[in-house]
Point group: C2
Chain length 188, copies 2
């Protein structure tokens, strides 16, 4: 791994574990095994590094979601594959957790990729639901239903963390899939 890569990956894990305020340039350098001069050669400072780290997490989330939502099968099968993919539930969503980080939310440049990621996901899910409507599988408003699916996913992390139990996550996902199944045309 190049020094630049190593700095980004170290920032990602520190942001996830300690939040923005708890992530010092010194800690990033130590974890990356990089010197101060090397860090400032690649990045303007902590905010610049955090931005690269958040963008990297966002890219990974989008790539994984797109692979599942673009696969073959009905809308319901693809949405289920997306919602049920393996996740480190108790650590929380690497993007969603940032919304509870006051320093990230207060910094427009850092909040932007968080907002964009959720907008992208909502739009991608809405397209799946729109296609399902055109094929006569589902008769739901694509925009608000897609927003609900993103919300369930984020809220499911919150509930699992509150109980320190990934089962809460699974139950919330099972519930929304049940609602989508009941809303499918021809299944009632």
């Amino acid at each position: 791994m190049s020094t630049r890569e190593s700095l980004i990956e170290s920032t990602r894990s520190l942001l996830w574990e300690r939040g923005y305020v708890g992530t010092s340039p010194k800690a990033i350098q130590q974890r990356a095994g990089a010197g101060q001069g090397s860090m400032y050669h690649h990045f303007a400072g902590k905010e610049d590094l955090a931005l690269a780290a958040i963008r990297r997490s966002a890219e990974e989330l989008r790539a994984a979601a797109d692979a599942q939502l673009s696969a073959d099968g009905t809308a319901l099968v693809r949405i289920e594959a997306f919602l049920r993919r393996e996740r480190d539930v108790l650590r929380g969503c690497p993007i969603g957790r940032l919304t509870q980080d006051p320093d990230v939310m207060a910094t427009a440049a850092l909040r932007e990729p968080v907002e964009e990621t959720f907008d992208w996901l909502r739009t991608r899910l809405a397209r799946v639901l729109e296609e399902a409507r055109e094929r006569g599988e589902l008769e739901l408003d694509p925009h608000t239903t897609a927003q609900t699916i993103v919300a369930v996913l984020q809220g499911a992390y919150v509930l699992a963390r509150a109980a320190d139990d990934p089962q809460r996550f699974d139950d919330a996902i099972t519930g929304v899939l049940g609602l989508l199944t009941h809303s499918s045309i021809g299944t009632e």
Copy 2:
């Protein structure tokens, strides 16, 4: 307001604004207009005060939810009244936000009322859904559907904060109400 009350209310607002680590005994005393001796007369320390503050927020949340979910009307009408009640959306849920506070989650005594509140809410919603099933209004699994409704509510806060826009909250709520309506027996 008594000094004890004033200390609890000051801790609640500080916890909401700054999180546990950012809430010092000194800041609590200043906001409450209470001296150090007075604080330690009423509470053993910061953790004890935080516990009283979290319990107070939990009680208020339960009382408000119970009023709406115990009202007259169909399950759908009561759930809609609960989900659409006025909220300070961009500040986040006073209970849900605590799940992203590492110090609160790492302290069993402080996590307990957070977990209990979500369990209470899920159980209360499941009872509404169970009654609806008995009356033939809805045919959904009460437990997982209730967990989904709690998750949508928590996730809706996350999305509104990410976009700095309460409309994201409203859209997620509209979507889940649409799903519940589609799942109602006799509406399709």
